[in-house]
Symmetry: C2
Subunit: 241 residues, 2 copies
């Protein structure tokens, strides 16, 4: 066992909660469960072992993987999984991230996307590793619900999935989010944390701005993406009294 | 000089961008500027020194404060400021955070609040330090635009500022965010990252839920707070073609 690197075939879900998410929602990807000697015996662990057994996922005891893989002191369970690369749905709405650079942000966006019913995520390279252990952790397991595809360029994405309404989010966007009616299927497109989307996206689809006060330069990327996801799906999630 | 602690009178803005925010938006709080020997000479530094000079804020050269205060390798400028405690506006809308526990999350919520025009933040203790250097950094300087007050209990907040519409955000909330018309002045109330708001808040004001799919347990706290802020202020930030 060695420290995780992007080119590895497998990545890791750190902690028992994430490992449950792996076994429940991406059971075919699960390769092995590691249990630390300090892991508390009890109902949770019994359920985990039972689930792993029914899926024929081996369980290994020992502390060494934890020294290598986890920097958190209270992580006593790790789920190893084979990384996956599933095609996106052509009919569904997508989130497209252009050059995302922060693993935690990427995971947080995954969590919001799944929260608002979006299952398809396109990432335009260069980008942070979509299976970085920090991404997996920040996603709180949402990564296991997603179809994720990487593309060398936005043109490559368009060639395969371009037959849809495109909404690039830019400070220079013409339309205000709060006035927009989204038409399905759509793709919400977001740029890099520091630089946003290149100006070339002004010629693509309908540019959208989330208007805010002049007292901040911009909204944080996962915040902007989540507000957009909320606004684009709010009619699908209506309930209440 | 010693490592920052919550009981200190002063806190620190790490980096030149944050230090500019301090000098521009909370000039009366600024106490000292520290410049590292590796700080690049040039227009930015000249402007900073000019601004500090005009405000009579002393500038000190030396690397030692950086070893103590900053864990980031590329931080070559620190702004020291006296912490502040300004009363909230009784007429304005507020954000209320009940027992927030994560410094980065708190700063991110500050950034979104200021982004959507809210200047008043109430925090119900126990809570993370509102002037933790991580909070200040995650706020991207928004902290310097805010009136922030800490309260020992939510009742204490109500006694002073209760004459308003209260919207606690809870998974058990009766109203769906997307169906709600907010009436000003309001307070949007959010619970702790792990535990949310106590059930006692079900009897307060109008409980609101941000509906999402069953595939996630909850939205990340700053995401939920920012979506709520967007929805509650969207009519104030309408622009576009």
């Amino acid at each position: 066992m060695k420290r995780y690197r992007r080119e590895d075939e497998n990545s890791y879900a750190l902690g028992i909660t994430l490992t449950f998410e792996l076994l429940k929602f991406a059971p075919k990807q699960a390769r092995k469960i590691y249990i630390h000697s300090k892991m508390q015996e009890g109902e949770s662990l019994d359920r985990l072992k039972e689930l792993a057994g029914s899926l024929r996922v081996p369980v290994e005891y020992g502390d060494k993987p934890f020294n290598i893989l986890s920097q958190k002191e209270n992580c006593f369970c790790i789920g190893e999984f084979e990384k996956f690369n599933r095609p996106l749905s052509k009919d569904a709405s997508h989130v497209v991230l252009h050059n995302p650079s922060n693993a935690g942000n990427l995971g947080t966006i995954m969590r919001s996307a799944v929260g608002f019913g979006i299952k398809d995520l396109a990432i335009i390279k260069p980008s942070v590793d979509e299976f970085d252990v920090k991404t997996v952790r920040a996603s709180m397991g949402a990564v296991f619900h997603l179809n994720i595809r990487l593309f060398d360029s936005f043109d490559d994405y368009l060639k395969e999935y371009g037959n849809r309404n495109l909404y690039p989010f830019m400070l220079k966007g013409r339309k205000n989010l709060s006035e927009l009616e989204f038409e399905k299927p759509w793709s919400l497109i977001f740029g890099n944390e520091a630089t946003g989307l290149p100006d070339s996206f002004l010629n693509i689809g309908t540019g959208v701005v989330i208007s805010h006060s002049d007292n901040i330069d911009s909204l944080n990327l996962p915040i902007a993406a989540s507000i957009a996801l909320y606004a684009a799906t709010r009619k699908d999630f209506g309930k209440g009294d």
